[in-house]
Symmetry: C2
Subunit: 601 residues, 2 copies
């Protein structure tokens, strides 16, 4: 036996007990003829006391940082206690020690605040993983996992495994493919989600299914995207949207309670997709702060069939405004005294390519009630007052105005709002504001085909199994005429991050075929690609729906961080390589040849 106790559990009640500990040397501190060693493991740190004789032994058998040792001795009371650590009232009077393994000097310090840069820490991930931050993060990830499972279990969900080696589906452009030696020239695909399998499980009567499961996408790695990611994947039969929202609101509350001791006192607010786009310019609004978007000019029917046109900027012979499809404003509180320099910086910020605006207008709402704008040449104070009223601006606010094409301008203002939120410290790390965004559009127009060319086409916004709003089914026949058609689809948004999303599914064969038709997939093609699902729908498919939550994102949010990488033990780096194993690797051409890959060149 290597140890009688771990490094985090000894207390005053153990005084005089003979113990053996094992762990890593955190520090060695010599004071004259005696030595103190901090011994570390996952559970904590315990101080070892080496007397004069043992300190002499240390000269022959020295200890260094990260050495792995075993130490025998007796628990004694510490003379100078350390209230900062749980074992701080005791120490071990060492009688003998063994070096189990030496360590070279680590390339960076294994401490909360390390001196190692990002790249170095990624290269030596096994050392970075020893740091308290990473240890806490992986423990948190495990606790979230447990908490989710306990809730799902109590709610009668079965964890049912679905295959990883599957047939490629039409979203195939992003599929990883896996050649099979046993089926020469043929390939599996890795699943982007267990979507079809969980629907089949509902058809098979499993009623409530969940998995915490890896999914795969062969995409470029944007910030916080990994080619493999983990999903809390769920499906329920005989449910309506309301049942699902309640179930997973319950899950979210349960996990926050378990892992952070935090209560959400009230029900999560709900907002339609149209409203979210209108008020925040974004389908995943950060509602920790207000500063909502206020339209000054908009065409009719921009987001849904109820949308009316508005124009509070016309008639001033100002070409920028007259040409603009869409004009939108926010009122930044307490910013009316922004300097020229600050305003120029903001203007540069919106002109960056990733934002793409040509300029920024402003109206200062001075403390004395007067208004002063960058467009005074065109608009008198009465007109500016109309804008200020529209924004419910207060004296001291700075109204920022963007004008341009609707989609781009809305997105730009959404970004500007978040940027102002950051500047003003309104996006607090320890504040959590969940939101259900509902009634997502069923379809969206893709300008290009998957191969990057072509005339564009209507695609499923969520996926082709999502049910349209029952009273809008007839609109599916002509999406160009009825682009507003909405689905029973919903996202769970937390602090501006999309944590998860789902939908009520189509469960009738006829409606599914109608959906494929709207997507330009005829019955023959549908049969070929989705025959198994259409087949299953012939034998009594129940109404069903589900949700998938991004496990990596949820963990990072619970940890109060924006990057998921610190919550994954072995993430990929920015080029998709494993942080340590340096995958992917080149494969020997001979080995490929054995796989009988046939390529027509």
């Amino acid at each position: 036996m290597y140890r009688t106790h771990n490094c985090g559990e000894l207390r005053e009640q153990h005084i005089n007990a003979p113990v053996t500990l094992a762990g890593w040397v955190q520090t060695v501190r010599k004071f004259g003829s005696i030595t103190f060693v901090d011994l570390r493991d996952r559970y904590g740190i315990t101080q070892l006391y080496f007397n004069e004789a043992l300190t002499q032994q240390l000269d022959e058998k020295p200890l260094g940082r990260e050495f792995v040792i075993q130490a025998e001795g007796k628990v004694i009371e510490r003379t100078s206690k350390n209230a900062k650590i749980a074992t701080g009232n005791i120490e071990i009077e060492v009688s003998a020690y063994t070096v189990l393994n030496k360590s070279s000097v680590p390339p960076f310090t294994i401490e909360e605040e390390t001196d190692g840069g990002e790249e170095l820490r990624m290269k030596y991930r096994y050392l970075d993983l020893r740091r308290p931050t990473l240890q806490r993060n992986l423990e948190l990830r495990y606790r979230v996992n447990r908490s989710v499972r306990n809730y799902m279990d109590a709610q009668g969900f079965y964890d049912i495994e679905t295959p990883f080696l599957i047939k490629s589906t039409p979203e195939g452009a992003r599929d990883f493919i896996v050649p099979s030696r046993m089926n020469g020239g043929q390939f599996y695909a890795l699943p982007q989600s267990p979507q079809t399998f969980k629907q089949l499980l509902m058809v098979s009567g499993y009623d409530r299914y969940y998995q915490i499961v890896k999914c795969f996408r062969d995409e470029d790695l944007r910030a916080d995207r990994q080619p493999e990611f983990t999903q809390i994947d769920c499906e329920m039969a005989f449910v309506e949207q309301e049942d699902i929202l309640n179930m997973f609101e319950g899950l979210t509350k349960h996990v926050f309670r378990d892992v952070k001791g935090m209560e959400f006192a009230t029900a999560f607010p709900r907002m339609t997709w149209s409203e979210a786009m209108k008020r925040y310019g974004n389908d995943k609004p950060d509602i920790r702060f207000g500063m909502e978007l206020k339209e000054l000019k908009t065409p009719a029917g921009a987001l849904d069939e109820h949308d009316e046109s508005l124009d509070l900027v016309g008639g001033a012979a100002f070409k920028v405004m007259d040409d603009a499809e869409y004009v939108v404003a926010i009122a930044a509180p307490g910013c009316s005294e922004y300097t020229r320099k600050q305003l120029d910086e903001l203007t540069d910020w919106v002109k960056r390519p990733q934002i793409g605006m040509t300029g920024l207008m402003y109206v200062k709402c001075n403390a004395d009630g007067s208004l002063k704008s960058s467009v005074d040449k065109f608009y008198d104070e009465a007109r500016l007052r109309v804008w200020a009223d529209q924004c419910a601006a207060q004296p001291g606010d700075l109204i920022l105005v963007l004008a341009g094409p609707a989609e781009r301008t809305r997105k730009a203002m959404s970004e500007l709002r978040l940027e102002m939120g950051n500047k003003l410290g309104l996006r607090k790390r320890d504040e959590y504001k969940p939101l259900w965004v509902i009634d997502f559009p069923l379809l969206e127009f893709a300008e290009n085909n998957d191969d990057g060319g072509g005339a564009g086409r209507w695609v499923a916004r969520h996926h082709p199994f999502t049910a349209p709003k029952p009273d809008q089914i007839s609109w599916m026949q002509d999406p160009a005429r009825y682009p507003y058609i909405k689905a029973n689809a919903y996202d769970l948004v937390l602090n501006g991050t999309e944590v998860g999303g789902g939908s009520i599914r189509i469960y009738q064969r006829d409606l599914q075929l109608k959906m494929f038709e709207a997507l330009g997939i005829d019955e023959h093609e549908a049969q070929e690609k989705f025959g198994f699902l259409l087949g299953a729908f012939e034998y009594g498919a129940p109404p069903h729906g589900g949700l998938a939550l991004g496990f990596d994102r949820l963990c990072a949010l619970l940890g109060g961080d924006e990057t998921i990488r610190d919550y994954i033990a072995f993430p990929k780096n920015n080029s998709g390589r494993d942080v340590m194993l340096d995958a992917p690797s080149a494969v020997n051409p001979v080995q490929l040849d054995e796989l009988q890959l046939k390529i027509v060149e």
Copy 2:
């Protein structure tokens, strides 16, 4: 809301309650002017009663098998109760019903004993999965999952995810490879196990790790092998073999208690690999019955360095025996009166190619104490008596004798023993006999290289990270001279099935290099292939070891079955295709080309 209750929960206490149920129509039974419908879901079956008026409605809106319906009504007491089902005391007096989805007539009956053949049931797996047997199996699988997690959690293990897209390792011959679009011409591999990652987690100080995780092998599908399979994967730091055996004996007992309400009263017996091979001819002996192998002739040092030579068959001028390297017998109880025909059948059985023997000898131990053999020509009764004594044979036993090359003959006798065990009903489905097999060989000689040719070489029997017995380390330098070298490696065997295996790992860089050397891998190659692990060993790797249990096999064993396929929701069929999605599929050559696969032909 689709239902107020499920189909398994209504009881007498609910009588008079208004309820709404939803589910599948199991049966429709018309009696004159009224009708009874059994409604089924995951939770049970509830009888619906349709009165005269509603029975008339059924003519216009008929119900058939597997229709999905919703029924409103009132709970009433049944006049003829059904004690066989939990809801058998009540029924629902239906006031209205809705057909949610129709069903074609299923291709086989959705019942315990179905009329559907294997192939048909695989094709319509979503219907097969509705059968009570499969529903029970998948529920059992889920309960095993929960039970394992609860134990591991209580023991302080963290569930830590390891990557699926990794660098190919030297066992690479069996790796599935995954081309990456983002890294043209390069490939990931799918892990055969998280072995290296879990060792790195030990180096990182996570102390106790587990996962229930998919693993992948691109191999031919023998009975009960799937290209993707699920493993309970564990690793512990600062442990010796004893700690690991105790921990996982505890897990096994816990799961059997949870899932089957079964107690193993005593500690699991342990047997060295050498002893298992000697007594059962097999490293995963089924110890539910005796009929142990008794050697009549064996060379010295067949299995370990203590093995002495023996010859109880020589000096009779019987060439078969004199030429044989190895002669072994079993005594089949109560079989002394086997007929000529039965004996011929057994002889044919051992002559089958997969057994590969040239013949079978026997000695009948008659009830009167006399002996009668098929080799009377060569051996007198005194000599046969020696064999009978060696076998501790009783009157009424039939001694079966095989002679030939040691390895093949031992294996053949092991198979013959199991066959006789089957014939005699000694392998009981509901009896569980666990066994630890320990002290496995460190190395084994592979006759061929991976590519099927070459001169053969020494390979790691478990894997190259397994620690040799400390007192045998020096033998590693010359495996040809010391083939007996044993490892701290162990298997958990249950009823003749290897449920899991593991080992104490090497954690010192020098010893790991020595191991690679024994396997013919020089330091340069080792650095290239395992640099990350050797690197990690430089920074304070703790002693560690672990175990992996076959989750699919464990579930099948707990269910009392031999085939794992009925415990996996969506297994592959014999040619590796998904039972429903018919994966793998052919990939468009153009798509492959986009992946920039380079093949030298």
